[in-house]
């Protein structure tokens, strides 16, 4: 199996990467740099070793990423600022053989675990929280998703994208991959979205597209993107969670005031990145829809319990997806890395319906997770984590607010919980609420009543 990473040379002298200091790296140069790095990796480590990379938006890190793909090493992508203790825990749990720093420096750990040969990449399911649950992807997955994205987005070889999203995050990575697939270029910047440098770069480098999770669009709204003259900007994309109604209004206004197409997209790391997209012509009327499956993919609806296929329009069912970008499987420990499972159909955990015009619409969520600022929080996993500190504890919320409730009357607890949420999950305090209650709301069967808890929290949130 070969991927765009193996075909960099075909674009010759075309520019692959641009750096903030205006230096450029051609596709030929990039292939050469990757091969030099591969040679180092091959000297140090056998084939099918698992490596982890602190994936900053820098040349050294991108070279390490492409080198691993080209020389058959499995690579786990980490947030560049993932804490040492969380990194160490992952190294032990997955028996990672080497840790690659953002600078490209390699530290061997002594582990020698072999990974299944078709596993090329591991991505965390929850962004930067360092959750041990990772998604195993093959080269074919990565190649297929990049190919599909190039088939529905208007990426041109003359385009320059910008790293508006982190590269260890599947959506951010898909921007790099699809541009390299097409022979276009990417500006590697570490400037945050809310900085002068970033916006100067979008102008100076004639950036052709902007991406964003709902939170990015909140920033675009506050910065009044519609007033910024950016003639080179041709289109925008949005993914990483559903827009709330006020942001939907904004995106619709943005599309009409800029007169530029906006692609609302839906996906999961389990499908490498993208699953569905809404053609820009539907944005004014159908912004609440995820659209249709990406090229080569197929969406299905199944009864949540019986799993029977639902074929009628406007009937709610679990959204399932088939396509060449569906992951190999999950890996939570070293043993999982040698499994032979091949997943053919992905259950998204989202409830959806199909409109008579063929567009799909998400109507609810089956499994308990939140997507806050594009980061997925598995609530049961979080409860487990927090129960080390306080038990019982209940986690619920929506995509704008995480709610944590407990009963224990221990004055220091609130502070400890706040600190844990802020530091480990990297959430701003405005995005979570910690409640100490006399009793946790329960259903008649004794299970936690998450709905009631959410209502309670929302009531106090607006009041406070």
């Amino acid at each position: 199996m070969s991927s765009f990473a193996n075909r960099l040379e075909q674009f010759g002298e075309a520019i692959a990467l641009r750096l903030p200091d205006h230096s450029t790296i051609s596709y030929l140069q990039l292939a050469k740099l990757a091969d030099q790095y591969s040679a180092t990796l091959n000297k140090l480590l056998p084939e099918h070793s698992l490596l982890a990379l602190r994936f900053s938006s820098t040349l050294a890190a991108v070279v390490a990423y492409l080198a691993a793909l080209r020389c058959g090493k499995a690579l786990l992508l980490l947030a560049p600022d993932l804490g040492d203790s969380q990194t160490l825990a992952l190294v032990e749990r997955l028996q990672i053989a080497a840790l690659i720093q953002s600078s490209g420096d390699i530290q061997l750990t002594g582990h020698q675990h072999q990974v299944r040969p078709d596993c090329a990449l591991l991505l965390s399911t929850s962004g930067s929280s360092g959750s041990p649950k990772s998604v195993m992807l093959s080269l074919e997955n990565i190649e297929a998703n990049a190919r599909a994205i190039c088939a529905y987005l208007p990426i041109e070889p003359t385009d320059t994208a910008i790293t508006a999203l982190p590269l260890h995050y599947s959506y951010g990575l898909s921007v790099l991959n699809s541009h390299l697939f097409k022979g276009a270029s990417v500006l590697l910047t570490e400037a945050p979205l809310m900085s002068k440098d970033f916006w100067q770069q979008t102008r100076d480098f004639h950036i052709s597209s902007l991406q964003g999770v709902p939170f990015s669009y909140q920033l675009y709204r506050q910065l009044r993107l519609e007033r910024m003259p950016r003639p080179a900007l041709r289109y925008l994309t949005q993914a990483g969670g559903k827009l709330n109604s006020s942001l939907t209004d904004y995106v619709q206004q943005l599309a009409s005031s800029l007169q530029k197409p906006v692609y609302l997209m839906y996906g999961q790391t389990e499908a490498t990145a993208r699953i569905a997209y809404l053609a820009p012509k539907f944005i004014q009327q159908y912004a609440d829809c995820i659209g249709v499956a990406i090229p080569e993919g197929e969406l299905l609806l199944r009864h949540p319990v019986t799993k029977a296929l639902i074929t009628e329009d406007l009937r709610e069912g679990e959204l399932c997806y088939r396509g060449p970008n569906v992951m190999l499987g999950y890996a939570s420990c070293a043993d999982d890395l040698t499994s032979r499972t091949v997943l053919t159909e992905l259950s998204t955990g989202d409830l959806a319906e199909r409109l008579p015009n063929g567009l799909y619409r998400i109507v609810g969520r089956l499994s308990r997770f939140l997507k806050i600022q594009g980061k997925r929080l598995q609530l049961d996993h979080l409860e487990q984590q927090l129960s080390a500190l306080v038990d019982p504890v209940c986690c619920t919320g929506n995509d704008e607010l995480l709610v944590v409730a407990y009963t224990q009357q221990e004055p220091a607890l609130a502070e400890q919980l706040q600190q844990l949420l802020r530091e480990q999950l990297q959430l701003h305090p405005a995005l979570y609420k910690v409640l100490q209650l006399d009793a946790l709301p329960a259903l008649s069967n004794g299970k936690a009543d998450y709905q009631a808890l959410l209502q309670l929290a929302m009531g106090s949130h607006h009041a406070g």
Binding site: P192, L193, M194, S195, K196, F198, W199, F215, Q218, L219, Q222, L223, R224, R227, M228, Q373, H428, P429, A430, L431
Partner: protein, 85 residues
Amino acid sequence: MSNELIQTNTAKLTTAFATALVVADTQIHDDLAYNSIKEWDSTAHMLLIAELENVFNVMLDTDDIIDMSSVAKAKVILSKYGVSF
């Protein structure tokens, strides 16, 4: 009179920063810069701008929003909108 006004504005500014960044008032000083502490990230920056626009009843230009890289810089920018420090 104007001295009192300046004092009030400085206090308002400090409170706005402390609220948006969720840090103690004592941590807010002129040299404090965007991204220099982990509390001042893009989320906090966004809340900060909303807070400042609200407290001082101004509507900041895009360039000023992304230029507000420190507490001292915030004072300079807000001065352009008629808020004295």
